[in-house]
Amino acid sequence: MTGLTQQLIDLFAALLLLLAFAMLAQRRILSLIHLYTLQGAVLVAAAAVMGYATRQPHLYVSAGVTLALKVFLIPSLLHRVINRLNVRWDLEMLINVPTTLIAGIVLVIFAFYLAAPIAGLAASIARGTLGIALACILLSFMMMITRSKAVPQVIGFLAMENGLFFAATAATYGMPMVVELGIALDVLVGILILGVFMFQIREQFDSLDIRHLEKLKDD
């Protein structure tokens, strides 16, 4: 039983990492949203399995919240945004894809190096996956850096939050319920604000390219 859950959790962790790399390499916004949805689904599954394995009912609750928020609500919001803004394509990246992927590999190694001493201290069954969670966070961060359009950056931000959630689940069976709900609400409010921003940027510059924002700097 524990052997199987252990295997499942490792599998989901591996999937998360794979999805993070896929997002890093993906150029199309629509596919990016699909990948994000998929990542949310994997996260839900991982949380549910972990809740089942450790008999912690509150993990089911956070899995439920994640399902509602990250699999249904936020992706649908993102779909609406890109339909309204009519930006389904993202052709530009600041750094080309192979270089990004190599840098991503370096980041993963770094994350595992960082996680090794911390994982030794943790007592949870998923402690081996802490390195993966950290790698997901860093990869999402890098995705934010390497994109030049507003929508992919927002998705990078959201993916980073996914990584954080997974890290919390892996290390300590999730954060306290209050904190988790608070973060969920923050993400929701954050995406609303960013949505408004995207419309504003678009209205101002006729494009979602955030390089236009450089003009705002005063000399």
């Binding site: 911390i118 850096i145 390497t146 955030i210 700097k217």
Partner: protein, 668 residues
């Protein structure tokens, strides 16, 4: 609650002050209600505070906890002798100033009258609560309220750019000071997490941390009091504020800084070190000399008074420094003498400086002139203001039988005891310091002669001055109250020392009452053989000789009154501009102390068709300390501004790099 009747009474009176302020807000533009009802009511509350605080000078400390403020962090209040003494000064001074304000504020000057009333009474209540606070939290809240209320009062004429600039400078230095005080409290609580003063008293700090707390307190309270080099806001803010506000700021608010300093140095810190005393003494003396030398060359009457406030604060701090020095060497009797001198000066300066500031307000309203070069001869058209200012000027110059003399005399007396110090180096140095005090007193007299002579004596320098009107009845009442304060402090020092005795007993464990041998009419600091001063006898002597001279002249000599034009040396066109001017009167001092000023002179040549003479006296501290500092901050800000690229990717990269560095650092 009933165990602290006076404290509860004072707190209730502060609440009434706040209520009066709020009532002013409700009657925002109803000028007569605000001026004729609310301000006098505030004055009555001030008197009630005096009555409530007076018994607790001798009583045991009372304390009370009010469940205000943040949850789980109530305000502690405590009323002991030191607080009560400063409350007396606050109440006594502000009663007069409030009465004066009732007649002073005009309808269409800057802030609406109701708003002014709110700021004024919040200012008063915050000062009273600063004196009562018994934990760092309440103290800082009240301290900041006081600073902000006074800031808004200073910029009540905010349409003038110069006034806004003065207000900004004031706010800036007030916050630097508040930072020092906050850090000082942080050191004093010694990592216990309990910020009540009771806990701070119980801590035994190591000498290093005690000194750190002391230095922070000196910087923080020194900034508020106007000690050199943090004095620059004073000559800017005082002229900018409306006169009653300058009176309160100079007379009372500077004293709350003295109070806070005494509270930390004597009450909250368990020990005193001798070098603290030397440091405070040196800073006090530097402020006194610097202040008086600059006061002597000013040609704006309120700026002159502001510099003179710096001088007086310097004298007060010199007295405190001396008392710390003596207390550190376990000489409580002499420490009590020096402290008594300082506290006495606190009271007398509060009265005479408030009086002089409100008098300048009356002159300003009557003539709309602040520059000394355009005043003159006002005694004839404004006799009330003129005679009241004369008494204030005499007190300020430290002449007997008024209040200023007693404190300066006590201070000089305490310097005469320095040969008893066990440190030979100090033994040699401190008598020289006494000479400096004498110099300051003499220059203060010089300054006051200039102030009074140029404004009130001689001929009108402008035509329109002849039409100036004397102060109204409310203003006269306020000035009369302040004059009475100066006179009482001068004539009945022994009685006032009875009030000071329990305070010095509390702080240094001794008082002058032990030594004075019980005479009620003679002021004896240590023993009759050494020195004594009987102000009533002195006053009787002055009055008798004056009366005798008057009688002799009027009765036995010719007794006729003869008016004639003054001798004009044969020059036919004598004009008012030929009188000694403010600049001319200050010229010798400007010559002697030239290195202290940063002067810019504009001298006309012999061939100028329109000769013009201009002199600008600047402050070295401004150019040597503040401007370089400002430039440093500016260039640092520019260097940091280079980080601002404008590209989001770069900003994210900063965060990313920081995150990586921190992660590496924690797992190292």
């Amino acid at each position: 609650m009933s165990s602290a009747p006076q404290l509860v009474a004072v707190l209730a009176l502060c609440a009434i002050w706040l209520a009066i302020g709020v009532a002013g807000l409700a009657a925002l533009h109803r000028f007569h209600l605000v001026a004729r009802v609310l301000f006098p009511a505030g004055g009555a509350v001030a008197l009630a505070i005096v009555a409530a605080a007076l018994p607790s000078v001798w009583g045991a400390p009372q304390s009370v906890v009010l469940p205000l403020g943040l949850p789980g962090l109530p305000f502690h209040f405590r009323l002991d002798g030191l607080s009560a003494l400063f409350l007396l000064v606050l109440g006594g001074t502000s009663a007069g100033v409030s009465l004066f304000s009732a007649g002073y504020f005009r309808q269409s000057e800057g802030t609406a009258p109701g708003l002014l009333c709110l700021q004024y009474h919040v200012f008063l209540a915050a000062m009273a609560l600063v004196l009562l606070a018994d934990d760092a939290y309440a103290f800082m809240v009240m301290w900041e309220t006081m600073a902000l209320a006074s800031f808004f009062l200073v910029i009540s004429n905010h349409r003038i750019a110069e006034i806004r600039r003065a207000g900004y400078l004031y706010l800036l230095i007030a916050h630097i000071g508040a930072l020092g005080i906050l850090l000082c409290f942080g050191v004093l609580q010694a990592n216990t997490g309990d910020y009540s003063f009771a806990n701070m008293r119980a801590q035994h700090l190591s000498p290093f941390w005690a000194s750190a707390a002391f230095l922070l307190a000196l910087a923080g309270f020194g900034a508020k009091a106007g000690l050199v080099p943090l004095h620059v806001w004073l000559p800017e803010a005082h002229p900018a504020a409306p006169s009653p506000v300058s009176a309160l700021m100079s007379g009372v608010m500077l004293k709350t800084a003295v109070y806070g300093f005494l509270r930390v140095a004597y009450d909250l810190l368990p020990v005193q070190f001798w070098w603290w005393g030397v440091l405070v003494l040196a800073l006090g003396l530097a402020s006194a000399v610097f202040g008086v030398v600059f006061a002597a060359v000013q040609s704006d009457m309120k700026r002159l008074l502001a510099w003179s406030s710096i001088e007086n604060i310097g004298l007060i701090f010199a007295g405190i420094g001396l008392s710390i020095l003596f207390a550190a060497y376990k000489m409580p009797a002499v420490a009590a003498l020096a402290l008594t001198a300082a506290l006495y000066h606190v009271a007398s300066h509060a009265f005479f400086k408030s009086l002089l500031f409100v008098a300048t307000g009356a002159v300003l309203h009557a003539t709309s002139q602040r520059s000394l070069g355009k005043l003159g001869g006002l005694l004839r058209v404004m006799p009330w203001v003129g005679w009241a200012s004369l008494l204030g000027v005499l007190a300020s110059a430290g002449l007997p039988p008024l209040g200023g003399f007693v404190s300066e005399w006590l201070l000089l007396q305490s310097f005469l005891f320095t040969p008893g110090l066990p440190n030979s180096f100090l033994n040699m140095l401190v008598p020289a310091v006494a000479a400096v005090i004498a110099l300051v007193a003499a220059l203060a007299g010089y300054t006051m002669v200039k102030f009074y002579g140029v404004i009130f004596l001689g001929q009108h320098r402008e035509e329109k001055l002849a039409a100036a009107r004397d102060a109204g009845s409310w203003e006269r009442l306020g000035m009369a109250w302040l004059v009475a304060g100066c006179v009482v402090l001068g004539l009945f020092p022994a009685q006032f020392l009875d009030i000071l005795a329990p305070v010095t007993q509390l702080l240094v464990g001794a008082s002058l009452a032990d030594a004075s041998g019980g005479s009620n009419w003679l002021l004896v600091p240590v023993s009759v053989e050494r020195a004594s001063y009987g102000p009533l006898f002195f006053f009787a002597g002055v009055a008798a000789s004056f009366g005798l001279a008057y009688f002799l002249v009027r009765r036995l000599y010719h007794g006729r009154l003869r008016r004639a034009a003054p001798w004009d040396c044969g020059f036919p066109w004598l004009t008012a501009r030929m009188q000694d001017s403010a600049e001319g009167f200050g010229q010798p001092v400007r010559q002697i102390f030239e290195p202290l000023y940063r002067m810019r002179r504009e001298l006309p040549t012999a061939f100028d068709a329109r000769p013009r003479y201009a002199v600008e006296v600047g402050d070295h501290f401004w150019h040597w300390l503040y401007l370089p500092l400002a430039r440093l901050v500016e260039s640092a800000a520019r260097a940091i501004g280079a980080l601002q690229q404008g590209r989001i990717a770069i900003y994210l990269l900063y965060s990313f790099a920081t995150l990586m560095a921190l992660l590496l650092w924690v797992t190292r």
